[in-house]
Symmetry: C2
């Protein structure tokens, strides 16, 4: 018997009315998911509890990652479908395979959504849905080679253990990648040197360096090779760039360039406006792109994001640190500013090696994906 859609609890996607405040549904998501407090941009590697978290359904009951679980005995990763040899691997199998560690900056595809006008109703990120971690695991290619792709296989479909309802349809969280997969894609069992915390996918997650977070399937339990492109909700309906609900749209993939500033000075509790003293202020932050190295970070200290094509003030170059040994991690940058009494808006903008840069006015799309409008930080100098 086919179950009827759960339409009553699962309304269609919605765009907020002009001036409409954040609703209780959006707030429920904001209270359980969380962003990086921007002062935590100071850490090159984000401590686990400060890394952004977006959980679509529930965190599954797969153990705590504290070492006292029995998950190592019960967890299985299956590889099946268009493979030569179906596999069932436990965590001991995976941990015994040669592993690599990659420092990866991850960002939610919906970062910046709540700054859009009109605002797509979903997880209401402002600018903080990002983090960087050291992920250790087995290259996906190693495991796929062991299973062997059968003729006709075109994609790998990844299934996580989280389960819920989207637009009335019950489903597991599921995403695909085209074959062959990149050599940088990992099956990660370790984050920052320890077991994965529950909210980051314990005991196993996919890491797809350079891509937005939706690709990094958490609580990974199954990989299926398929001979036709995967048409599941999170691939073909959500996470598409489109203007109207009925469009097919273009898939959301790599991370657009972005720079963020560690807000200088100290904040007012409620307004979060920053206060600095007159004199020299070191401005610093991080910048990243899924399309290549960040080659330029510019700063405007007299800016207004609605003030015109140059932000209302001149742009000056910050010093950008090289990528070093971590091609998928954010890069540090800094610039010196002499604060004078008054109110200032600081703007910062990254440009990557592909020539992509950040807009002052964000082009709109219906899902609120891939936003990288320049950050604006209000500062009062006493």
């Amino acid at each position: 018997m086919e179950e009827r859609p759960l339409t009553g609890i699962s309304p269609p996607g919605r765009i907020a009315a002009p001036g409409e405040g954040i609703g209780q549904d959006e707030l429920s998501l904001a209270a359980r998911n969380h962003g990086l407090p921007l002062e935590a941009l100071r850490y090159e590697v984000t401590p686990a509890g400060l890394h952004y978290v977006l959980v679509h359904y529930d965190i599954p009951d797969t153990g705590t990652g504290t070492g006292s679980d029995t998950d190592a005995d019960t967890w299985r990763l299956t590889l099946r479908g268009h493979v030569r040899t179906p596999l069932e691997l436990d965590l001991r199998d995976l941990r015994s395979l040669p592993s690599v560690t990659r420092r990866v900056t991850m960002e939610c595809a919906g970062n910046g959504r709540a700054r859009l006008s009109p605002r797509p109703v979903s997880q209401p990120w402002l600018v903080e849905a990002v983090g960087t971690a050291d992920w250790t695991g087995v290259p996906l290619r190693t495991v796929l080679a062991e299973a062997g792709a059968a003729p006709g296989a075109v994609e790998a479909v990844f299934t996580g253990a989280d389960h819920g309802v989207e637009r009335g349809v019950e489903q597991d969280y599921r995403r695909s990648l085209p074959l062959p997969v990149g050599e940088d894609v990992l099956l990660a069992h370790t984050m920052n040197g320890g077991l994965l915390p529950p909210q980051h996918g314990h005991p196993l997650r996919l890491i797809v360096p350079g891509w937005y977070g939706m690709a990094h399937v958490k609580w990974l339990r199954d990989i299926e090779l398929v001979d036709t492109p995967f048409g599941g909700y999170q691939q073909a309906t959500a996470y598409r760039y489109k203007q109207a609900a009925e469009e097919a749209g273009e898939p959301v993939t790599r991370i657009a360039p972005r720079a963020l500033l560690i807000p200088p000075g100290f904040p007012d509790f409620m307004s979060r406006t920053r206060v600095v003293r007159p004199g020299p202020v070191r401005l610093a932050g991080r910048a990243w792109s899924g399309y290549g190295a960040v080659v330029r970070v510019e700063l405007s200290t007299g800016g207004d994001p609605d003030g015109g094509p140059d932000g209302g003030g001149g742009w000056v170059d910050a010093e950008v640190l090289p990528r070093g040994g971590h091609p998928y991690a954010w890069q540090g940058w800094h610039a010196d500013w002499t604060a004078v009494p008054g109110t200032h808006t600081l703007l910062v903008r990254a440009t990557d090696a592909s020539g992509r840069t950040q807009p002052l006015r964000q082009p709109w799309n219906r899902g609120g994906f891939g936003n990288n409008q320049v950050q604006a930080v209000s500062v009062v100098c006493r």
Copy 2:
């Protein structure tokens, strides 16, 4: 030269207008602070990244707690004021003193604020600002005995390293406790067996078991004994139960009783409505109170929080687990329910040994403190 108040960036406290959605200022706080995803009530000890976090200003730059910091060399705790022997202790000193470990359930005093009508404008918690951790540290009494209270000392004032603006006035985060302090109060340097994460007060925080979170001063760097009650903002203005801004109000202290249910089944992404299958469902959760053991947890499965004095449905007793060896930690509870097709509202209510219980309709106060209205979970049975 006295600095003028920063009134321009720091408006007075505000109550939202009827029907007013959550604003960008509240959302900025919701995106950087975070609650416990309710499914994480399944863990008796909350993994650090899932424990609720409320940071008033910024997380100070006091190290990452990963062991590679030099904070152990530079951090100092000073004890001064009305003491016989002023002290300056470093972390080695503190870690060398006899320590104890306490399992403590901590809740933000503002939990539930966003469910109030009208809504006080501040961090907009719904119901999830809670967590339980094992805190290890030195009893505060040990250190106070070493310094020795001078005649006339009536309170200890605790200063954290976080710095910001409240109502136009620049300040450090600061709270006091009356003398003598309880034997259960700790100077904690360890959380769940590891160093404190940055957002939980690394390298040292106060733990005041049974009290709301505002008392557990993070990034603790100074203790001053004073001979008149402390009149600072966080003690005498904020964290008071009052109906109008000009009242003195009563201080917020201990945690009112509350039970929370692990939402059963699985959720719709956006509405968070739960879906279960017909048949037996084990309902379980946690309950706690700062006034004594929880002696009763009642459940209503036909309830409506606005449906009348009994919630619109009968209440049945759940089985409450004893406190065991952890008198300051939440207690588990469970009850069996047979789900039948339809829409249900599950309500849960705790009563503690002092006779305090949870209201169906929350009495209002201007700061939105001490809320413990019964939780309502909407469930659809297919």
